[in-house]
């Protein structure tokens, strides 16, 4: 009897301390033919140093234009189990909280109708069910939706919004990120499921500038919690940190980007007016320092990965907005943003690219936001710029 493995290259990736994705595929392959062919095709990719997948582009569930991404093996004769191997995106729970029963429910459905492989979660934050056939798509959707789950976004639609853990388990949350994201997701179901935008649109909400969800780098609209007010200092807790060995001068004061702090060896003083709320001191001395005052968020737009003009980080649109249910002011702004994009955006042009192409002024005027120094790192350098008749009237 031969003891030779069919997957010698992938077997190498079962060694070592970090949990192995190959072992996961093998576990699924032990009871699922699709997963077995996934494993075999992947071994071939490792041998040939190339992928063997084709993008679908057509399959979906009736009525929706998103949530399913068609995927086919480019070697269907060799790997019939993955001839069709479509992705199903299931909208995750705010903050990625689950109960054991809800996870089992997902597993039961996916074992019945799919490969038994999934990602918790994909980059955008969906539960990614990895691979099923075309005829299984409607059954998968019926099973999930009848139990309270819906599909996430894909294509030129609002993608599944996501957030950091926020007030559920973090002392720094200035806004209720979980509720905001749940509320927006419910409000904009049509925008998620029936793609009508020029391209994808991502919304991410972070409770503070630590930005554990990476909102500033990967959302067309980034919501980042902040406050207007001051930092409350508990001097006895400061003393406790010092006693435990923290070098407050070196680790806190000297690293403050605005130089707004003084430590006299006993007490810490903050000149709140000069603080930019970067979160360094608060995150290192969480027992001693707390934001206080009016809580809200900075609304930024435009970040995305490199296609087409190079990667962008989100930039400030509204320096401060109160965000409380039902979030009407934010929703009104979002609708104006989408209206502008609908009017001027080309196919596959992200919001940030459009605003860069046409200039901030037109955009600001359209969405009704006034110019402010908080929106820029620095004013323009060159002495040529546009004037409009209304600017002359204003003077």
């Amino acid at each position: 009897m031969s003891t030779e493995s069919d997957t010698p290259l992938l077997d190498e990736l079962e060694k070592g301390p970090f949990p192995s994705f190959v072992s996961e595929i093998k576990k699924a392959a032990a009871k699922n033919k699709m997963a077995l062919d996934e494993l075999k095709q992947l071994e071939k990719s490792y041998r040939d140093k190339r992928g063997y997948w084709k993008h679908g582009g057509i399959v979906g569930i009736r009525g929706y234009g998103s949530g399913i991404i068609g995927r086919h093996s480019s070697l269907p004769q060799e790997f019939p189990g993955v001839a069709d191997f479509h992705t199903v995106r299931v909208n995750s729970v705010s903050g990625f909280f689950y109960t054991s029963d809800s996870l089992r429910q997902i597993c039961d459905i996916w074992d019945r109708h799919g490969s038994g492989l999934l990602n918790m979660h994909g980059s955008t934050g969906d539960i990614i069910l990895l691979g099923t056939s075309t005829e299984k798509l409607e059954p998968v959707f019926a099973e999930f939706s009848s139990r309270g789950w819906d599909l996430g976004g894909s294509g030129s639609s609002l993608r599944t919004p996501s957030c950091c853990i926020g007030p559920a388990r973090c002392e720094w949350a200035n806004i209720d990120t979980l509720d905001i994201i749940y509320n927006l997701t419910q409000e904009f179901q049509d925008e998620m499921h029936r793609p009508a935008f020029p391209y994808k649109f991502k919304i991410k909400a972070a409770g503070c500038a630590v930005d554990c969800i990476g909102a500033i780098a990967r959302a067309d609209c980034s919501i980042i919690g902040t406050w207007r007010g001051h930092i409350v200092v508990d001097q006895s807790a400061v003393a406790e940190y010092a006693k435990q060995g923290m070098d407050i001068q070196a680790e806190i004061v000297n690293l403050c980007p605005t130089g707004c702090m003084v430590y006299d060896g006993r007490e810490l003083y903050i000149n709140d007016e000069d603080c930019s709320r970067c979160m360094h001191c608060i995150s290192r001395m969480t027992k001693a320092l707390r934001p206080a005052g009016e809580k809200g968020a900075t609304i930024l737009i435009g970040s995305k990965a490199p296609f087409v003009i190079g990667a962008t980080l989100s930039w400030v649109l509204v320096p401060f907005m109160k965000l409380e249910p039902p979030y009407d002011e934010f929703k009104a702004l979002l609708k104006k943003i989408w209206e502008y994009w609908d009017e001027h955006g080309k196919n596959r042009e992200r919001l940030g690219e459009l605003v860069i192409r046409r200039g901030m002024r037109e955009f600001l005027e359209f969405v009704g936001v006034k110019p402010s120094p908080q929106q820029v790192k620095e004013p323009r350098r060159d002495p040529f710029f546009y004037w409009k008749d209304e600017d002359f009237r204003r003077q």
Binding site: H55, L117, S145, D150, I216, I309
Partner: protein, 356 residues
């Protein structure tokens, strides 16, 4: 088997139904937290109540067997409550302190890696790769496994000056948004796409294909009712392939991995930063990409040795200067490192003050 009746536009389940009772009770009233060990932290609420979190690594790609095992563990020690982090770690949410020890014992017993909290390497954010993506120029999961095996100690025990966020994107589409990571790998192509004229004619829209090119390298080929590509202008980004799959850009002999470094998303101390190119190309060498692992180790070692406490990789490099970074890492500086795309002039050195 009869299927239940489908519903549309119901949205996701309400998160409130998934929170442990101690979180529901103290929602928005957390006062502070303490990191008790590399994989355990405790959050204190204003009420005096506490919740403990035990974090373990996951490979992101999971079998239903493993998800069920996670659910069973959560039932046993956490009243059934658990969550996932943005970086695909699993967090067991413990309300009863007495469960902390037995939970960790069982996790250790089952070979889960506990850690990832604090100034360490947490899980690597990554994309689908050859596992499931049509445009992958490398395999993301394999690279992640090889790197995390090497850096396992930095997840479970050892400390660094600050947290180090690693990421892997299997093509320049960058589903993983690796452009703001401390150290990231992005798979690249180095040869212009081959045009399959017959299929282009039948399946691709020419104007949108031409418009997809950021460098204007694609133009109409009217005699063939197809497009032609100016190889000299092409930067191999692959955006055209996303619009027209008949422009075959995969080329196993030339595809591989670039390394970028110095990015971050938080605003702490300094503004969020993009990652910048440090190694333009390393060939794909599956299953364990040893050259990539070595190059990343080299950067990480230099950072661990040179950075001050709390400095992220990008902050350290900016303090010492990129020229010194290339000197101490021994990484070769090439034509490819000098920007000739959309922001080139912002990146040239406009000062005679620099280090040797």
């Amino acid at each position: 088997m009869d299927l239940p009746k489908r519903k549309t536009d119901i949205g996701p389940p309400n998160y409130r139904d998934f929170l442990p009772p101690v979180i529901s009770k103290n929602y928005g009233d957390w006062k502070y937290h303490e990191v008790l060990s590399p994989g355990v932290m405790v959050h204190h609420a204003g009420s005096g109540e506490k919740i403990w979190t035990v974090r373990v690594a996951s490979p992101r790609l999971l079998s239903t067997d493993t998800v069920r095992e996670l659910a069973d563990i959560a039932d046993k020690y956490c009243g059934g409550y658990l969550r996932f982090t943005t970086r695909n770690n699993v967090e067991f949410l413990v309300s009863d302190e007495a469960m902390l020890c037995p939970l960790q014992l069982e996790l250790n017993d089952k070979k889960y890696m506990i850690g990832g909290i604090g100034p360490r390497i947490s899980n690597i954010v990554h994309t689908q790769g050859w596992v499931h993506c049509h445009s992958a120029a490398t395999d993301a999961s394999g690279l992640v496994k090889a790197l995390m095996d090497e850096f396992a100690d930095y997840f479970t025990t050892k400390e660094l000056p600050n947290k180090v966020r690693l990421a892997v994107a299997c093509c320049t589409n960058m589903c993983g948004a690796v452009h703001c990571s401390d150290i990231a790998l992005v798979a690249i192509h180095r040869k212009a796409p081959k045009v399959n004229h017959d299929s282009v004619k039948n399946t691709c829209e020419l104007p949108s294909t031409i418009a997809a090119c950021p460098t204007g390298a694609i133009s109409p080929d009217s005699s063939k009712k197809s497009v032609k590509i100016n190889d000299d202008k092409c930067m191999y980004c692959g955006n055209c392939f996303t619009v027209c799959s008949c422009l075959e850009i995969n080329n196993p002999d030339f595809d591989g991995v670039a390394i970028v470094a110095g990015g971050k998303v938080g605003s702490l101390r300094s503004d969020p930063k993009f990652s910048r190119l440090v190694v333009p190309f390393i060939k794909n060498n599956p299953p364990r990409w040893p050259e990539v692992v070595e190059a990343v180790s080299n950067i990480l070692d230099a950072y661990a040795a040179g950075a001050k406490k709390h400095e992220r990789v990008g902050e350290w490099i900016e303090r010492i200067g990129w020229e010194k970074f290339f000197r101490i890492t021994g990484l070769k500086f090439t034509y490819q490192h000098i920007d000739d795309f959309t922001i080139a002039r912002e990146t040239f050195r406009t000062s005679a003050a620099f280090k040797w």
